[in-house]
Amino acid sequence: MPSLQISYSNTIFYLKVILFFLGLFAILLIFWSAKKIEPSTEIPFAQDVDFASLNDGLTQPLYSSITNSGDEIQIFAQQIIQTKDKDAVLIKSADLKVFSEIGSEISLSSDNGLLNKEEKNLIFTENVLLKTDDYIQITTPRISTFLDKTLIQADGPVLGLFARGHIEAGQLNIFRENISSKLVISFTKRVKMLYEPD
């Protein structure tokens, strides 16, 4: 009977030790799996991807990066088509999202986009639509965005919805100068904003 007690307590002891290490391993596993994968500081598309190796019909590419102003940008596309220019590709159904540190989002979409890795810009054309999560919705013939800085520019006439009304202007610039500065949404060149009271 005493020998049984000894072996029982030894079993319990070893089980406790195993349980302790299992718990420790489980905690480590949780930390490893929760580790945030930081987006690259450079656009992989602009730096690493060789346009020449891309084939027509490539679907759903996704690229993400942090701009020098601290915003995260993501680019989606349905199709990438090579052009004669080795530094540029045509993007079908282009979609770009900008996420700021506080979580606000700007999304840009168009039927066509031209990505130039040399100039690090993406130009949206045809059915261009810009939306923000605070209900600004803008249409314009053409918008330029940059991959390494938070800068969105529309030089043509812009039309859209703004704060329970409508807005039209000759130019739109959305930018953040540095990490600590605020995101600026600027309409210029004969701005008309219509507000409809209840």
Binding site: D134, A163, V184, F187, K189, M193, P197
Partner: protein, 159 residues
């Protein structure tokens, strides 16, 4: 002598009084519910504060009423995006039909239905010029109140 009388201006100086104009301020009361059009050379929208700032020759038109200034700030509600207040600065002029109010600054509270003009506030109504520390206009009724030191220049009728 009669020519002199016709041209004579009565200048009345009243200190620390409140004067109310019963005639109302232009068509402000009937324009109140109409769409408001903001026109300017540039507009900067601050998303965090839900504020739109308009610069250079700004005009806000509502029906037959026009508020103009060099700088106007429109403050929206953070909950429902409703326009709550309009601040105007530098060369502020509020014109509604034939009535004109000028000042250095103006605040239009849409929730309280009040426009307050301060700093060299000056009301031109029915041929009369009234200067006051503050002009308060109720946009619901059109009733105009003149506060503080009020100076009135009355042009007598020619008849």
């Amino acid at each position: 002598m009669s020519q002199f009388l016709k041209a004579f201006l009565f200048v009345v100086l009243l200190n620390n009084v409140v004067t109310a104009q019963d005639s109302g301020f232009g068509s402000l009361a009937s324009d109140r519910g109409k769409p408001m059009q903001f026109i300017s050379d540039s507009l900067i929208y601050n998303r965090e504060e839900n504020v739109a700032e308009l610069f250079d020759e700004v005009e806000v038109r509502q029906g037959n009423s026009v508020l103009s200034a060099h700088y106007i700030k429109a403050v929206y509600s953070k909950t429902d995006n409703k326009l709550e207040q309009i601040f105007a600065e530098r060369n502020v002029e509020l014109k509604s039909d034939k009535d004109i109010a000028r000042a250095d600054k103006a605040t239009y509270s849409l929730s309280k239905d009040v426009i307050s003009l301060t700093g060299n506030a000056h009301l031109i109504q029915g041929g009369n010029n009234i200067f006051a520390d503050q002009i308060l206009i109720n946009t619901k009724t059109g009733l105009t109140e003149l506060l503080g030191s009020v100076k009135t220049v009355i042009v007598p009728s020619k008849n």
